[in-house]
């Protein structure tokens, strides 16, 4: 991955998030959907992972860590072979490990092999990174057989009970384990990964407090600060009134990023005043020739390049207001490099002229405060030694 060595000076202090689990459980999919914006259905084309793929996440000073997508069934024994040929001792990896995701397929349930794998990993954690929590993602919760809420709950309970028992049976009952249901097809995977990443963020409490007062002063129902590249939320207000709109906020981020990508990447062309005649007419494929030509290009790949720099036209003036017919209004404002504040109001008046002015004043305060937190210099830190 490009830039892997760019900030190697303090790379040893950057936490690693390890993604482990049985084969085909969805590890690589989660990694690509969350950190590369891969469309969920395209995960069907992903091949098996042979060597660990490390990935540096570094969109801004606050949000720096590495994600290592491990091969299936790998029990963290011996050395970890990275896809660039280098190797790493598991002891070192675990020492830098900030979070360990254990992904299981909810449709398949957990068999003895999966339980054994978690036991092996649990032993390594207990030995080399005591105190490190294991986050079990009960993944593919969207499965065809899991459509009813009852079926979902049952599948989740199954996994929890089986894995919990497996750990207790070998004396690992004290290992902190958290369970999250997830699917790449909806917001749940972002929710799960957000919870995990937030634990690594020492500034989170300060950010939460900031959002609490922002929400109170401006009259919003809820507010959160997002990393726009991954849609992970770094902090959210603590009033918990925004449950119903969490997924919608994720969709809002997508729309803002996608539309900005389309309308910011105008070509070198950009000449003024070609009073749209030729272009205007092919608006909906009106002309025979135009339709033919455009169809031709339609055969080219539709997706943009997943590289962050090319597609994320997110700058300090990025803003958005989205209103729903029932009055709900979502306000998005840029508050830092690849960081957006998204606030939801139950009434549309926050977006009216004078109220929006007040909102923007307070966004400015949040922006400055965040900047202050950056200056502090402390980004994410490995949970096992959060005191440094």
């Amino acid at each position: 991955s490009p830039g892997w060595d760019a900030t190697s000076a303090d790379s040893s202090r950057r936490p690693i998030i390890l993604i482990a689990g049985p084969r085909r459980s969805g590890k690589t999919s989660i990694h690509h959907v969350v950190f590369h914006k891969l469309s969920p259905h395209e995960t069907m084309f992903l091949g098996s992972t042979a060597a660990a793929i490390p990935e540096l996440i570094s969109h801004n000073e606050l949000f720096q860590f590495e994600v290592w997508d491990l091969p299936g069934d790998y029990a963290l024994t011996g050395e970890i072979r990275l896809d660039d040929g280098s190797t790493y001792t598991t002891e070192d990896a675990l020492r830098r490990c900030g979070a360990l995701l254990f992904v299981v397929d909810a449709q398949e349930g957990v068999d003895d092999d999966a339980a054994e794998l978690l036991r092996d990993i649990g032993r390594r954690v207990a030995a080399h990174a005591p105190g490190l929590a294991v986050d079990v993602l009960i993944h593919k919760i969207d499965g065809d057989a899991l459509q009813s809420p009852e079926a979902r709950l049952e599948a989740q309970a199954d996994v929890q009970i089986t894995l919990g028992r497996a750990l207790r049976d070998c004396g690992l009952g004290g290992l902190p384990v958290a369970f999250h249901a997830s699917s790449v097809y909806d917001g749940s995977v972002y929710e799960a990964v957000s919870k995990v990443v937030q634990r690594l963020l020492p500034q989170r409490a300060a950010m939460t407090q900031m959002l609490d007062s922002f929400v109170t002063v401006c009259g919003f129902e809820s507010a959160a600060i997002y990393d726009v590249v991954s849609k992970i939320h770094l902090a959210r207000d603590s009033f918990a009134r925004g449950e119903g709109t969490a997924d919608l906020v994720g969709d809002t981020l997508d729309v803002v990023v996608d539309v900005a990508c389309i309308y910011t990447s105008r070509g070198a062309a950009g000449q003024e005043g070609t009073e749209g005649t030729q272009e205007a007419a092919d608006g909906a494929g009106a002309q025979a020739s135009a339709a033919g030509e455009e169809a031709e290009e339609g055969a080219e790949p539709a997706e943009g390049d997943p590289e962050v720099d090319d597609t994320f036209q997110f700058d300090e003036l990025t803003e958005s207001v989205i209103t729903l017919q029932d009055g709900h209004t979502m306000v998005l404002r840029s508050v830092g490099p690849y960081m957006a504040l998204v606030a939801v109001s139950a009434t549309p008046d926050v977006a009216s002229g004078s109220r929006l002015g007040i909102v923007d004043c307070n966004v400015d305060i949040v922006r400055k405060a965040l900047h202050g937190l950056f200056q502090g210099g402390a980004g994410l830190s490995p949970a096992s030694k959060s005191g440094r």
Binding site: S39, H41, E42, D144, Y185, T245, D247, L248, D251, D254, V255, D258, V259, A260, I262, Y263, T264, S265, R266, G267, A269, G270, Q271, G273, T274, E275, G276, E279, A280, G283, A284, G285, A286, A291, G292, E294, A295, E296, E297, G298, A299, E300, P301, A302, E303, F314, D315, E316, L317, T318, E319, S320, V321, I322, T323, L324, Q325, D326, H328, G353
Partner: protein, 316 residues
């Protein structure tokens, strides 16, 4: 002309192609708000499934989704031939790129073309080369062109348009926008009105979407833009948002998005349309664009009402 009883303008749309080609999937995504991944739960269409959708208020599309199983095909071309192929405004033939029985499909296609032209009507033909997502991206162009030239050569000289499509990206919206564009009357007047709005806002471009489907009805561009696929991308993006809103039990009303270079505003224009106004930044204030859209609203209302009446009379 002064009456307020817009006679609905009915158009018959035939949807044909082998079983499993993706006809019902596309129809349901465009007109019935199905999400792409939900299509795997659709069951095969038996015989003909009729649906009626209103488009732009008074344009009524009677969609005949013809199940593609062998047993039904025979009767379409024999016993039911008259009822199926009569008064067709548009034939949409879906070629499944995954199909192994290529020649058989072309034979069926030719029978459709024959049946349609035998009645001496001027039906438009649209061929969708579908499920392009299963073809590796670098091969899509070649695969599509090969298919397209074969289709054209077997269309008996009928005016035939081919589009590559997939339910997983914006190509779906490109193809269906072109199809409905062929049906919407008065597109010239709409275009002129859009020009006026674009000038008033000093906009880079203005695009008119149909409200329910988010298909592009018309557009005007004043400053050229590199991305030729931007309109269908917008259809796709905003339709996803619209569906997400419905998931949380409300309806999308308006969208504003801006950064240091542009501002895009999407607001309801008439009861059945949404307009997108894209302006440069720094540039005109959002409020000015909203005001201009409000001022233009009666004119668009008039054009759309007018087109329904004019078209209705012609069809009667």
């Amino acid at each position: 002309m002064s009456g307020r009883s817009p006679a609905a303008m009915r158009k018959k749309v035939l949807l044909m192609g082998r079983s499993g080609a993706g006809k019902t999937s596309m129809r349901s995504i465009i007109f019935a708000n199905l999400i792409a991944r939900e299509t795997s739960r659709l069951s095969a269409t038996l015989d003909v499934e009729y649906s009626t959708v209103r488009f732009m208020g008074d344009l009524v599309l009677n969609i005949w989704d013809c199940g593609g199983q062998e047993v039904f095909l025979e009767s379409y071309f024999e016993a039911e031939r008259d009822s199926i192929f009569r008064d067709v405004a548009i034939l949409i033939y879906v070629f499944d790129i995954k199909s192994a029985e290529v020649e058989k499909e072309f034979i069926n296609y030719e029978r459709c073309i024959k049946a349609i032209s035998r009645d001496g009507q001027d039906a438009r033909v649209f061929c969708l080369v579908h499920k392009m997502d299963v073809v590796p991206p670098e091969r899509r162009k070649v695969v599509f062109h090969a298919k397209e030239s074969e289709i054209i050569s077997r269309s008996r000289g009928l005016d035939t348009r081919c589009y590559p499509t997939s339910i997983w990206d914006e190509t779906l919206y490109k193809a269906w926008s072109s199809i409905v564009y062929a049906l919407v009357p008065n597109v010239e007047a709409l275009g002129l009105a859009l020009s006026g709005l674009a000038d008033a806002c000093d906009a880079d471009e203005v695009v008119l979407f149909e409200k329910a489907t988010f298909l592009v009805v018309s557009s005007r561009t004043r400053r050229s833009h590199r991305d030729k696929h931007r309109f269908e991308k917008m259809s796709n993006i905003v339709k996803q948002l619209k569906l997400a809103c419905m998931g949380s039990a409300s309806h999308l009303d308006s969208v504003q998005i801006a950064n240091s270079r542009f501002r895009a505003i999407l607001v309801p224009l008439t009861a059945t349309t949404i307009v997108m106004i894209v302006t440069p930044r720094p540039g005109p204030a959002a409020g000015l664009c909203l005001l201009n859209a409000a001022v233009a609203r009666p004119e668009f209302d008039r054009i759309l009402l007018h087109s329904a009446e004019g078209g209705g009379a012609a069809a009667a």
